[in-house]
Amino acid sequence: MIHKNNKNVKNQELDEYIKELVIARINAISKDLEISFGEKEYTKEEIVASIRENNELGREFIEMQLKFLRDIAGGNIYQRV
């Protein structure tokens, strides 16, 4: 039971770390860009808010960023499929 609780705490900490990492990357984006998908344009602030709220957009964004970072780390990003 204690081991399971420790694991849950570690997972939560990891999730928070990932969120902050993704938010930092979003905040670094140039303010001169318009980011469009779905039905509207999104500001950086809106994307960051979605990530903090953990809504559908926020979760999709985190997933995309993680895939991108994994592909960079694994070297896949510079290899053509």
Binding site: A28, I29, S30, D32, L33, E34, I35, S36, F37, G38, E39, K40, E41, E60, M64, Q65, K67, F68, D71, I77, Y78, R80
Partner: protein
């Protein structure tokens, strides 16, 4: 193994290009370049544009003209594609009726997930689309001149390559690969040290489009 299949003796293209918001307006202008190419190659073109992109008009155009190639622009979801003001013009329930025996390219979010597979199952010859969000990054200063925006060009020129390549007589596999290659080249250039900050910031989003672009069905299919 599927062999080459030529869709139709009469070359015809139906395009939907609503323009009810800034994103669809950008696609509206970029899609005109595809229409120009089709007309230069003597295609019969059916340009369903602006507020005319409704479900009833789309159905009417398809059933009356039986286009060999349908190019849809608009907002989408996993199981549907919208027209003007997000009216759903095609979804899983009517794709058999509307998308059978054609090659389809859907430039919208997510439709590659469910609609693409369902349409192939229901007789669409080939489907090209995106399984996740289709991102478009634009520079604010070029907001009213979409064709002059160097950032959106990096996203939409590769995307336009799919219909343009098909129109030029290439098969689905070649057209898909041309688009992938172009996105890849742009991504690498945008990630390089010589890229502008805006290009480097936008590169991630182009990579997302590249990663989720899919082609289903008979990839040896050609329009003529």
């Amino acid at each position: 193994m599927q062999g080459a299949i030529y869709i139709n003796v009469s070359k015809s293209l139906l395009v939907t290009r609503p323009n009810h918001d800034s994103l669809t307006s950008c696609l509206y202008h970029w899609t005109k370049l595809v229409l120009n190419e089709a007309q230069a190659k003597q295609f019969k073109t059916y340009d369903l544009k602006g507020s005319k992109v409704t479900k009833s008009n789309f159905k009417s155009y398809v059933t009356r003209n039986l286009p060999s190639f349908i190019f849809l622009n608009g907002h989408g979801a996993k199981d549907r594609v919208g027209g003007y003001s997000k009216e759903i013009i095609v979804d899983i329930s009517n794709c058999k009726e509307l998308l059978k025996n054609t090659i389809i390219y859907v430039r919208s979010c997510n439709a590659g997930s469910l609609l693409g597979l369902a349409s192939i199952k229901n007789g669409t010859i080939a489907f090209i689309g995106y399984t996740n969000s289709f991102w478009l990054i634009r520079s604010k200063i070029n907001g009213t001149r979409p064709l002059l925006d160097p950032l959106s060009k990096l996203f939409l020129e590769p995307s336009n390559l799919i219909p343009i390549s098909l129109i030029k007589g290439n098969d689905v596999k070649t057209s898909f690969q041309k688009s992938q290659d172009s996105m890849w080249r742009n991504f690498i250039n945008m990630s390089s040290g010589s890229a502008t900050k805006e290009e480097r910031d936008a590169a991630f989003f182009l990579y997302c489009n590249y990663s989720c672009q899919v082609a289903y069905g008979n990839k040896a299919a050609k329009l003529y």
